[in-house]
Subunit: 391 residues, 4 copies
């Protein structure tokens, strides 16, 4: 049994999205407002279609919190789908389906076809309702709870977009410190850490929209203040880089994950690829570079954890640039196309990435420092951080 | 409880490396010779140092197999460290340590320093003995058992090296089919799928050796014959791409993982980034491209699964190009250097990658098709494969 | 990762009780009415206090079911606490506590005191809200989903009360077949399988009520139609008797669990303690006795699974017979007493026992036969049942 | 992922029994001698057949321990089957079976028949080799490691036999304190805590042996010094009584488990069934009775944990009193009988019970107090114990 577990649930157009988190200690301060802020961050982003504007997600905490503090008991988070009243027919829990509204056309790049085969469905809506990235709403809510916990011990998690389509700020952002990149991204509709480039990115999105295209991109998530020693090399599935990779690759449309310099390290000579070790009286051991992205030997090493992920373009395209596919009933080819869709979801995915990193680090923290009363655990963490400095 | 579990164990210079695998069905044919072949593959590779030549790993099966068939009971695999007799003093289970042989100098890029802090050690040998990539020996052994299972239902797993340092065959190999790449790699000392390039790669390694440098690289692992529908979108931790990413990122020195076209997809327009769906009477639904690397919506989609991983250069360097670090006791800086070391371990890592992919796919298979008697499970799999063609 | 997982949540007087179940296959027929029937069964029972009459639990299915069939995606079950409007002050998620209403008096036999120590609470309501047996509501809801699945393959789960306080029908029921015991119990306010004894049991409860006492008892849960071979001897934590024992002992106030003849077997000679094996052309191997309660070697053996559990009396007593305890703040002794309480909850606990047995068997079934499409899995199960007859 | 995991393996007549334990912190003192003492305790007991005398189990530690201290890495324990040389033909890993030696006669009360059906075997030896209680050898070895850990923080685990067949010391032992019962049991060949009764028990065993009978019995395992607050009520599968029940019921031949007064509590009035709460300046809160057996609300409450288990008689009987069964091939009935067998294994099972309780408590301890460096964790535990006294 893991020390921190959660399950989420909910169809995209069902009555509500829900999550139950188990293992959050008692006496952690938590409010729905705190979670709502994160939900709102996920809903921003230039180039999102209509739905994001209609629905402003709000969480209801149904259990596990009393007078603004956690109880140690499982926390239920519920986010109603505000659009539900328009879907009661198509998504009814009971009753009979309206056959003509069944979806028979599987979209390329989506779970539709394989989901239908796997679960034995003739209506592909049964797949897409759950496979949709709408599911990440509750990941962000769960991640918000974890962030709340992490910030109490000085761990900050942030993100920014590195590239959208072929436009990249990778080089331009090099001189900007992590925290500042994050601050800039928070103010940018495209989450770009280099303010001067904002307009270029928006123009690209506008252009893609006109062309009926969609765009992917790369984002970076970081965590600062993480103590050395989370995760472990003693068993392959305790390595925190592995867990981070799973957490990120499990986000819809993510096709690549890097930690630190990632693939770039593969091309370097050994003498250029590692972080030398230094020592200072105040801070103990430290590095001057962070090529490893804060993880060595499957453990955090005290430097900022840096994760980069690649998102493929949203597969739902508009009229002009449709993709070919085949109807599952008639076996007739058709053109997969839609009236409208988001152009890109990279900024939102970055926020989801923050949530997943928060979950992984929070779990590693509780695994290392134990459970139950957050006041007690915090003390243990602060003592350990002191130990890492004095080692 | 997972349907397929394993734990491995063993220090690099201890008496033996061991693994226990639980959940392999009964009636699977399995021999130690089969496993030994995989162990030997891991030990090959141009540019390996002395140890690989000294030690030829051989597995002993201590449980779970009788008369060449699995019993459904846990399988114990043991690989003795042939060098153990030279280490009985330093690695003694009982008795007293010889203090002068303690390791106080943490190597950059390794687990040494953080491991010492985390576990409270003053002798860093306690860390490096387990954090070493020697641990992957039993991963390969466990992976061999899974491969044995997979090949019974037509699933083949293979690998090749794409690049070492700055030398790459990424473009050159494009026209070569997967299976042929694999065949070529099997004959190459550097696991390169393009035979003509072999010499170039070896020269690079020779050069690096002379310079006292080490090299990283990129490798690709594939699985063909995987039925559509392994893994699932219904819960984030059931997504098979997430599990693959964890499995690969958990390999020592891996810093990046991609599925299909990976990071490249982030730069493409939506109309160029997905695999259109076609249908034929014999084979049912299929794709003509495989940009997704065989995974959509967290599930295998019936196309070959393709995973790429980036390995950083071995951090142990030789005299000329040493890295700076600090003694944990005296806090004096020192130069981390060694007399000899491997130049590169990318070809070996590719074989480890095969093992990890085999484990992930075997587990997903047993999760989907159930457990116990392999003869019965095979039938279920063949029936389902038929269903995927007739859907 | 288990193939069937669930988390439940909810405080006793919070807004709602919730559960998310993950791993239920697609295409299982399921209605809220079916679940409500089970919820109602849990709320019956002679000798329950006021609350059971006020609140009639009703489930809302928030996800995972569409047009009366499961989607393979996680199922969210929510049962609102109808009394919630009277508790919005005391159980508010946000805002400030009303200090005078804090609970400082820990009740003997409850989680109050230890919960306060463990989680660092000064208000023991933070403990009792979650430790309460009210939590079993969602266990019953989850169990109902599992029962629905089991009945599709001919597995029936039922229960009856064997004793309350010192009154027992253990001997009297011996000649009555399992199914009939169950039928009788369903008609009895005390769930007694011997109708003639009903009045005696009620009188005992009346008497206890007058005396301000509470009563425990013993109940039996059975499952018929379970195929041989669920669970396994290959690893200790795969044994189904172990899982059953955990599931039952985890029900509030349960202090003992037996399978088959249980403790009685310990006093018998070997020749009297086992079930001889017979064989018939139609049914294959079978037993004429069922001392083992349907489990041998950690596996179901094809005979009915029979589990017995002992429940201690409800610790909340009324005025006359209070128990001594000590205030956590003042350290002053006090008398733990209440105006009113249930006299006994044994009949309700039996229904909870059914739910837990359903969960364990459903999980074992999915582990053995695999996942995803219930139509496909059912076929596998029927084929296997045929195999068990032909072995 | 659990914080403490282990897998064991090994066939009864295979080359060796093995276990890998993962999650034991670093810097715990551990020797093979310590484990061997526990292995020897399991092998004692009046009324054991020949094998116990032949084989004296000795553990080899293959990993995870260096110079008498744990490394935090997985610990491999191996116990060779000394008789292996006589079984190399029948239990060969490779090669061909000698058909005539196949076992076709399933024994009642064993896993033989169901195991054959489940795993698709025609030779039932494939089942019984693993289903045998020989497997508990490594449970005891793993338990020894956990005991080593527990005793460092003042937790002692012991056991004694309460009854064998119809002979019981339940009443006679009431006045003897727990620790003394244990001391007495350690000196008794039948593990009886009342020395004067020893001869009676031995005579019963002699008598049974003469009659060709076997005997079951009841044993009790206790843990003293367990701090309040291990386990939790927040989720059903975190309750420590549930985990204890699973751990005990999973021991071969166990059919019933009780905590504290167990089934007896079901017959009592509420006012007689609970433990009143007291408080003293030195020790804080405490109870004068321990009817709950140290567990309330799914958590340890600071009083000794007391578990009782019922073992059915060994199903292997001798000539005179054989049980009927049916050959799996010919379907001919036969008499299941053997030349020789143990008469009773209750004393050994008690030692296995100690091991399982040690595992459960150690895991709960690490879950609550965290992981990695035992020196650090011990401090946390001592601080918490202080807190429980000052609450």
């Amino acid at each position: 049994m893991g020390v921190l577990r959660f399950l989420n649930a909910g169809e995209s157009h069902g009555p509500a999205l829900t999550a139950i988190i188990e293992g959050i200690p008692s006496n952690l301060e938590l409010s729905s407002e705190y979670i709502n802020r994160e939900l709102a961050r996920r809903q921003q982003g230039y180039g999102r279609g209509g739905r994001m504007k209609i629905e402003k997600d709000r969480v209801e905490i149904l259990s596990g919190v009393r007078f603004g503090k956690t109880l140690g008991s499982p926390i239920t988070l519920m986010v109603r789908n505000r659009d539900w009243e328009n879907w009661t027919d198509i998504m009814a829990v009971e009753g009979q389906p309206v056959e003509k509204k069944e979806i028979k056309n599987p979209r390329p790049g989506h779970a539709d076809l394989t989901g239908g085969i796997k679960y034995g469905f003739s209506d592909l809506r049964n797949v897409l309702e759950r496979a949709s990235a709408r599911e990440t709403t509750t990941r962000v809510a769960v991640g918000a709870v974890c962030k709340r916990l992490l910030e109490d011990v000085g761990i900050t998690i942030g993100s920014y977009v590195v590239s959208i389509g072929e436009l990249s700020v990778k080089e331009l952002m090099q001189e900007i410190p992590l925290e500042e990149r994050f601050k800039n991204a928070e103010k940018s509709e495209v989450r770009i850490p280099v303010p001067e480039e904002d307009e270029k990115f928006k123009k690209l999105i506008d252009l893609a929209k006109e062309e009926g295209e969609s765009l992917g991109g790369v984002f970076e998530v970081f965590a600062t203040g993480v103590p050395a020693g989370l995760g472990s090399y003693v068993q392959w599935d305790r390595r925190i880089d592995g867990k981070i990779a799973q957490a990120f690759m499990s986000i819809q449309a993510i096709k690549g994950v890097e930690i630190g310099e990632g693939f770039q390290l593969a091309g370097k000579f050994g003498s250029q690829a590692h972080d030398e070790i230094f020592w200072g009286k105040e801070r103990g051991f430290y590095r001057k570079t962070n090529r490893a992205g804060g993880v060595e030997g499957g453990m955090t090493n005290g430097e900022p954890v840096i994760v980069r992920a690649a998102m493929k373009p949203i597969p739902t395209l508009m009229r002009k640039k449709s993709l070919r596919s085949v109807n599952i009933e008639t076996k007739e080819p058709f053109d997969a196309a839609k009236e409208r869709s988001d152009v890109t979801a990279v900024p939102a995915a970055a926020v989801v990435g923050e949530a997943m990193l928060a979950v992984v680090i929070a779990e590693a923290l509780l695994e290392k420092f134990g459970n139950d009363d957050w006041n007690e655990i915090k003390e243990r963490i602060f003592q350990y951080i002191q130990h890492t400095k004095e080692y």
